[in-house]
């Protein structure tokens, strides 16, 4: 399970925004940080998915090829 301490802090988000040259207001930075916190459990679930190293996956090519093949792998 996620640890709230793993979520980027408001200070980290502020520094990150500054590094990107984004002049965000405090309100906007707080929203971005809150969104991180809200999505954190799902993000960790996503990060935990194990994917094959050798399977050729070049996205979105694989996804589009599946569609073009009528939904067959």
């Amino acid at each position: 399970m996620s640890d709230p301490q793993d979520t980027p802090s408001i200070g980290f988000v502020t520094d990150w925004a500054a590094s990107l040259g984004l002049p965000y207001s405090d309100e906007r930075l707080a929203f971005a940080q809150q969104t991180h916190a809200r999505l954190r459990p799902q993000l960790e679930q996503l990060r935990a998915v194990t994917l094959s190293f050798v399977e050729p996956v070049i996205e979105p090519a694989t996804g589009n090829a599946w569609l073009e093949n009528g939904g067959r792998s």
């Binding site: 998915v49 996205e59 599946w66």
Partner: protein
């Protein structure tokens, strides 16, 4: 062509298919249809605010030209049909704002593929329609105001194709085009009681459509019948080399598909994800719609979609990552946008490259899950939205045991098929507390015909698509209470 439309009705209430029948029979003209739509716009627009640019004068000129083609026996597939476009769709020589002050004065020199195709097929562009800012803001558009749901003007249409849904529901015009990145055709269609179609990713070219997320964006019609959705898809679909993701696959005869037999087809009913955060009354309406499908001869089978607990984070991560890239030039001017758009974009630069790529690589796993489900069925059926339309005052969805912000609730039903790319159709499926609810049908890739056939069969059994809001009929709205 036979038509059930009675001329005692206001011509604005006619569907596109009915209009074609009337034109062919010489019982109405495109000029009369456009005039009826303009009269309706004048009457209801103060209540709903769906129209950004009213093109009445040029539309009447186009209608006169269309009438001449009908008289000469030279009518085309979409001749004389008034239509509207979500204002993120470029139109040659016509203002295209993106719903944003940033593009308030932009007049494109070239039209989008789909808008050009509708015009070339004889369609009449009657209005550019409201949209959430750049298809990702909220109901409170800072520049162009609030769009209101014709069924209850205290409630949202949903979005982002807000004007498209409101205009079609209020019979300002019979056909509108919206765009759908996480449900932006199907959610407002569900909440406004219209039909909404998102074809397979790649089926409808997006050249000339302002992008939000290039691997999730689709364009598609909102209409008042499945037949009209099929008619419109046949006009706008097909390869365009200016959109490298557009498919070269041949098109089907989608109008004819609506009359295909469906008896014996198998309907997969998911036992997870789509059942987890749905208001009980909406779930009950969905179960009633399943009975309607059975009455049409279809067979229900349970299906499980084990990876769908990943589908939201995959979809949002991809969307935020791509929107950040597409709009990087405007991220410094966030405070000029409406509040919801600002918040949406505020988070997007903080999606990491590794998370974006992980989401992209997990996407095929979700597709394989859908593939496994389709091994045992021909269509998937889900509720079109988990609740009735929220009140504008709070934008919260009541899903039974909790209130959720609308963006946490509504896309649960729709975003999965943006992620997989499967086609999906929403059709009106009755009412809860006097407000529309919807049935969603998803199909195999490039098999729009089967979902159109099943949707049309359901329409014939249920008839919910025939209901119009009191606002459209010029009546006082009923007092609506109960859950939001």
């Amino acid at each position: 062509m036979s038509t059930p439309f009675e001329r005692t009705h206001d011509l604005a209430d006619a569907t596109a298919t009915e209009l074609l029948g009337l034109y062919a029979a010489g019982e109405a003209s495109p000029v009369e249809a456009v005039e009826a739509c303009l009269t309706r716009i004048d009457r209801v627009e103060p209540e709903i605010n769906a129209v950004l640019t009213n093109l009445g004068e040029p539309a009447l000129e186009q209608a006169r030209e269309s009438a001449e083609r009908w008289a000469a026996g030279e009518a085309k597939a979409f001749d004389g049909i008034p239509f509207g476009l979500k204002d993120i769709i470029a139109t040659e020589g016509v203002l295209t704002t993106g719903g944003s002050a940033l593009y308030r004065d932009w007049v494109p020199a070239e039209g989008a593929s789909l808008s050009d195709r509708m015009l070339e097929a004889g369609g009449i562009l009657l209005a550019k329609l409201q949209t959430y800012e750049f298809a990702c803001g909220g109901s409170f558009n800072k520049t162009f105001g609030i769009v209101r749901n014709p069924w209850d003007t205290e409630r949202t249409t949903g979005g982002s194709s807000s004007g498209s849904a409101a205009a079609v529901a209020a019979c300002e015009l019979p056909v509108a085009i919206g765009t759908d990145t996480g449900g932006s055709v199907r959610i407002p269609a569900a909440w406004c009681g219209t039909t909404g179609l998102m074809a397979t990713f790649g089926r409808v070219p997006r050249h000339g459509v302002m992008g939000l997320s290039w691997t999730l964006d689709h364009a598609g019609p909102l209409t008042r019948s499945v037949a009209d959705a099929a008619l419109t898809l046949g006009v706008i679909a097909g390869h365009d080399s200016r959109d490298v993701t557009s498919s070269t696959r041949p098109l089907d005869d989608y109008v004819a598909a609506c009359d295909r037999p469906v008896s014996g087809l198998r309907v997969g009913v998911p036992t997870n994800w789509f059942t987890e955060k749905v208001h009980p009354a909406v779930q009950a309406a969905f179960e009633t719609s399943l009975e309607g499908l059975e009455a049409a001869g279809l067979v229900l089978v349970p299906v499980e979609l084990p990876t769908f607990d990943l589908v939201e984070i995959v979809g949002w991560t991809i969307m935020h990552g791509e929107m950040s890239s597409l709009h990087e030039g405007a991220l410094h001017t966030l405070e000029d946008r409406d509040a919801a758009c600002t918040d949406f974009y505020a988070f997007s630069p903080f999606v990491s490259a590794s998370d974006y790529l992980k989401a992209m690589r997990v996407r095929p796993l979700i597709q394989r899950d859908v593939e496994a489900a389709f091994a045992d069925c021909d269509v998937l059926a889900t509720p079109g939205a988990p609740s009735i339309a929220p009140l504008l005052a709070d934008m919260m969805c009541d899903v039974g045991d909790e209130l959720l912000p609308w963006l946490d609730a509504a896309p649960r039903m729709t975003l999965p098929f943006n992620v997989t790319g499967n086609p999906a159709l929403t059709v009106p499926a009755g009412f809860v507390d006097g407000l529309p609810v919807s049935l969603q049908l998803a199909g195999r890739p490039y098999d729009e015909s089967t979902i159109l056939a099943v949707g049309a069969a359901y329409e014939r059994v249920a008839g919910h698509h025939l209901a119009l809001p009191a606002l459209a009929l010029g009546q006082e709205p009923a007092v609506i209470g109960g859950a939001s």
